[in-house]
């Protein structure tokens, strides 16, 4: 297992008012993303526990793309990863943002 942490300063707060959401499941090639609206509005924190070691650079690129695209200000995203591919990670992160924007 490998733990990775990414902290970004972002331009705007994430949409919606929901405090909490979860999507995905920990399985082979899959991951779960737990989102909590607990940070100041210009900060975003991602904490990842992954079964696939040595992919820190790929994670860094996927996260940077996600932060740039969605500006997830105020969100702490906690990830348990079962070795998902980068496209699956991007999909789950997008789903997590969409869930936080949904009506409570």
């Amino acid at each position: 297992m490998e733990d990775l942490t990414f902290r970004h300063t972002v331009r705007a707060r994430a949409g919606g008012t929901r405090r909490l959401a979860i999507t995905g499941v920990v399985a082979s090639g899959n991951l779960e993303v737990l989102v909590e609206r607990v940070l100041p509005e210009t900060e975003c924190l991602l904490e990842i526990k992954t079964a696939a070691e040595g992919f820190g650079q790929v994670w860094s690129a996927v996260i940077a793309d996600f932060v740039d695209r969605y500006s997830p200000g105020g969100l702490r995203l906690s990830i348990n990863d079962g070795g998902a591919r980068p496209d699956t990670v991007s999909l789950r992160l997008a789903q997590a943002i969409r869930l936080m924007e949904a009506a409570p």
């Binding site: 297992m1 909490l20 979860i22 499941v25 920990v26 399985a27 899959n30 779960e32 737990l34 909590e36 526990k49 992954t50 079964a51 906690s78 348990n80 990863d81 079962g82």
Partner: protein, 301 residues
């Protein structure tokens, strides 16, 4: 999400619970944000899941307050670990204390999580005791089975302790799984790669026909919801008469079918014409057939 078109088999544990209960009524206990993860998986360098593979909570079903537990079959095969088991035990003990609130258990499990085997085996023992004690206190415990992991091992034992069960075609109920039987008894006993054999031996249609499950549901959340409502209305109270009726039911089943070598032989002995065509029947026709052959019992279990 629309319950009438959403596959139970394909849904996550959380989606099943949300679709089964009245919209917006689900309140989760010890949710993923509490991070009550397994204390054992780290030792094996295995990833954890924030809810340890089971959701527990309460909600309403047609306005009636119920407790609910839903296993996530895709996380480690829905297996029972220490935390996973403790969450279900706690829910059942709450049902015992309140007595009037039924419990819905959405099984999706291969049994005990072998990485935490001792804790998992203990959890199964505690859960079975808690099911019986909840039923003795007056709470009905309904099992719903139609997930990708089926309901095996300690899950199968726990299901057998419930007040009533509903199963879909995709659901399988047994204790030892097909691979385990083949490993221990040889391929002559059971060829685990023969999927048709596995399904007609452990699958939902067979379990319904021999009375192992009380109702058969099509693979939609709405069908499971309707079945849960029907079982909550009909399940027998837990008394000595109920246990005696269950014993009589099992003795009669053994007497009638004990010499059959295949599920098709049993179905034929039950008087089903063209029994070999049962696996191919669509849900509505199968339900009509099952209701004509094996009336859901209301006095046993």
């Amino acid at each position: 999400m629309n319950a009438t078109v959403t596959s139970w088999y394909e849904s996550s544990a959380r989606a099943r619970a949300q679709l089964l209960l009245d919209p917006g009524s689900l309140l989760e206990f010890i949710g993923p944000e509490m991070r009550e993860v397994s204390p054992h998986l780290q030792v094996f360098d295995l990833p954890e899941q924030f809810d340890d593979g089971i959701l527990v909570g309460r909600g309403t079903l047609n306005g009636m307050p119920v407790f609910i537990a839903a296993q996530e079959g895709r996380f480690m095969g829905g297996a029972f670990g220490e935390v996973h088991g403790a969450k279900l035990t706690g829910l059942l003990r709450a049902a015992k204390a309140i007595a009037s609130m039924p419990v819905l258990i959405l099984f999706d499990t291969g049994g005990v999580r072998l990485q935490e085997a001792n804790a998992g085996e203990l959890a199964i023992a505690e859960i079975m005791r808690a099911v019986i004690e909840a039923r003795m206190a007056g709470a009905k415990v309904i099992g719903l089975i139609g997930g990708r992991a089926g309901c095996y091992g300690g899950g199968g034992l726990t299901a057998a302790c419930c007040s009533a069960l509903v199963v879909s075609e995709q659901g399988r109920i047994a204790v030892s799984g097909p691979e385990v039987i083949e490993t221990n008894r040889g391929v002559e006993e059971l060829d685990s790669r023969d999927r048709a054999l596995v399904w007609r031996t452990m699958g939902g249609k067979h379990r319904r026909l021999i009375g192992g499950a009380d109702l058969f549901a099509d693979d939609t959340a709405q069908d499971f919801r309707n079945a849960a409502l029907e079982l909550l209305r009909g399940a027998a109270p837990f008394t000595i008469d109920t246990l005696n009726a269950e014993q009589a039911r099992l003795e009669e089943r053994l007497r009638r079918f004990g010499n059959c070598h295949d599920a098709v032989d049993i179905w034929t002995a039950q008087g089903i014409a063209h029994a070999e065509s049962v696996p191919a029947l669509p849900a509505d026709r199968f339900i009509a057939l099952a209701d004509s052959i094996q009336k859901p019992l209301r006095d046993a279990r």
